[in-house]
C-alpha cells in the first residue's frame, strides 16, 4: 500500500485548484483524513524532499514530488477508466479512491492494456470533477 503517493497526487490536485500552495486543510478534506494525519504525512514527504511546507502559506511539491504525483495521477486515471469502462461502476470516482492504495503501478499497467486512454494523460484530469475531462460518461453533458 502506498499512501505517500495518494498524498502527493492530492497535493498536486489541490495546488492546481488553488493555483498556488496547497493548504493542509484542503489536503485533509480531499483525502477525508484528519488535519493532524495530513500534517504528519506532509512532514514525512518533506523529509524525503518531495515537498516543502511553510506555515500559513501551504505545501508545494518539489520537482521529484511532481513526477511522482503525476505517475500516481496516471494510475488513478487508469483505475477510474477501468472501473467505469470495464466493470460498469457508476460511482467510479468514489470507488477509485478506495482502491487506489491496493492497485500499484504494475497492476495499473496491466489494466491499462484493456482500456482506452488519451496520450495527454494525466494533463486532461479535471481536479474539481475528480475525473478525466475526456472520459465520456452517461451523465456527462
Amino acid at each position: 500500500m502506498n499512501t505517500a503517493n495518494q498524498y502527493l497526487k492530492t497535493i498536486y490536485l489541490v495546488q492546481e485548484i488553488e493555483d498556488g500552495p496547497a493548504s493542509t486543510g484542503a489536503i485533509a478534506e480531499m483525502l477525508d483524513v484528519s488535519p493532524a494525519s495530513a500534517n504528519e504525512m506532509v512532514g514525512k514527504l518533506e523529509a524525503k524532499e518531495l515537498c516543502s511546507h511553510e506555515k500559513y502559506k501551504g505545501v508545494e511539491l518539489t520537482e521529484e514530488g511532481i513526477v511522482r504525483a503525476r505517475d500516481a495521477l496516471q494510475n488513478y486515471c487508469i483505475i477510474e477508466r477501468f472501473l467505469y469502462g470495464v466493470l460498469d461502476v457508476e460511482n467510479f470516482e468514489e470507488e477509485a479512491k478506495q482502491l487506489e492504495p491496493v492497485i500499484d503501478e504494475t497492476v495499473a499497467e496491466r489494466l491499462d492494456t484493456i482500456i482506452d486512454r488519451e496520450p495527454q494523460c494525466p494533463d486532461c484530469f479535471d481536479a474539481e470533477a475528480d475525473a478525466c475531462a475526456l472520459l465520456e460518461t452517461d451523465t456527462a453533458d
Binding site: M1, T3, Q6, L31, D32, V33, F82, V86, L87, V89, E94, E95, K97, Q98, L99, E100, P101, V102, I103, D104, T106, V107, E109, R110, L111, T113, I114, I115
Partner: protein
C-alpha cells in the same frame, strides 16, 4: 472512507476480487494470443499453455468467492475482446517471455497487496476470513512459482 482501509466491506472485497478475475482473464487471453502467433518454440509454447490453464483455474476460484459475496464477475469473452482489440501481434521470443513475466509478477503483486489489505482490515466479511486468505495465499504462491519459471527459461536462453 479513509486512505487506511481499502477493504472495509463485502462490496469492496468483491470489487477487488473482480479485479483479480480480470487480471487472470488478461493473462489467459494474452497467453492465448501469443501461442496463436508462430512461436516455433516448444518450451515457450508449453509454458504459455500452462500459464493459461493456471489462470483459468485461478479465475474460477476467485469467481466462486465473488459469487459467495452476491456479486458478479466480467465474462471471459468480454475481456478477451478488449485484449484482442489492443494486442500488438508482432512479438518475438523475448517480447513474449517478458510479457509473461510481467503477467506473473503483476498478479503476484496484486495478491500480495490484497492479502496485506485484508490482514490489516478489521472488517467482518460474509466469507470466512481464514478460508479467503487461504485461497489467496495459494494463488499468490502459484504466481510466484510462475514468475520463477519464466525467469529460469529466460536465464537458460541467455
Amino acid at each position: 472512507m479513509s486512505v487506511q482501509s481499502p477493504v472495509g466491506s463485502d462490496h469492496q472485497l468483491a470489487r477487488l476480487l473482480q479485479i483479480g478475475v480480470v487480471l487472470e482473464e488478461v493473462v489467459e487471453a494474452r497467453a492465448a494470443k501469443h501461442t496463436e502467433s508462430d512461436l516455433d518454440d516448444e518450451e515457450l509454447t508449453a509454458l504459455l499453455e500452462d500459464a493459461s490453464e493456471e489462470s483459468a483455474d485461478h479465475r474460477k476460484r476467485l469467481d466462486a468467492l465473488v459469487d459467495e459475496l452476491d456479486a458478479e464477475t466480467i465474462p471471459f469473452d468480454e475481456i478477451q475482446t478488449l485484449v484482442e482489440s489492443q494486442y500488438e501481434s508482432d512479438r518475438d521470443f523475448d517480447g513474449v517471455l517478458y510479457d509473461q513475466l510481467c503477467n506473473e509478477e503483476t498478479a503476484y503483486k496484486f495478491y500480495d497487496d490484497l492479502i496485506e489489505a485484508i490482514e490489516t482490515s478489521d472488517a467482518e466479511f460474509s466469507i470466512d476470513r481464514d478460508r479467503l486468505l487461504g485461497v489467496l495465499r495459494e494463488i499468490r504462491e502459484e504466481e510466484e512459482a510462475g514468475a520463477e519459471e519464466v525467469t529460469r527459461l529466460m536465464e537458460t536462453r541467455e
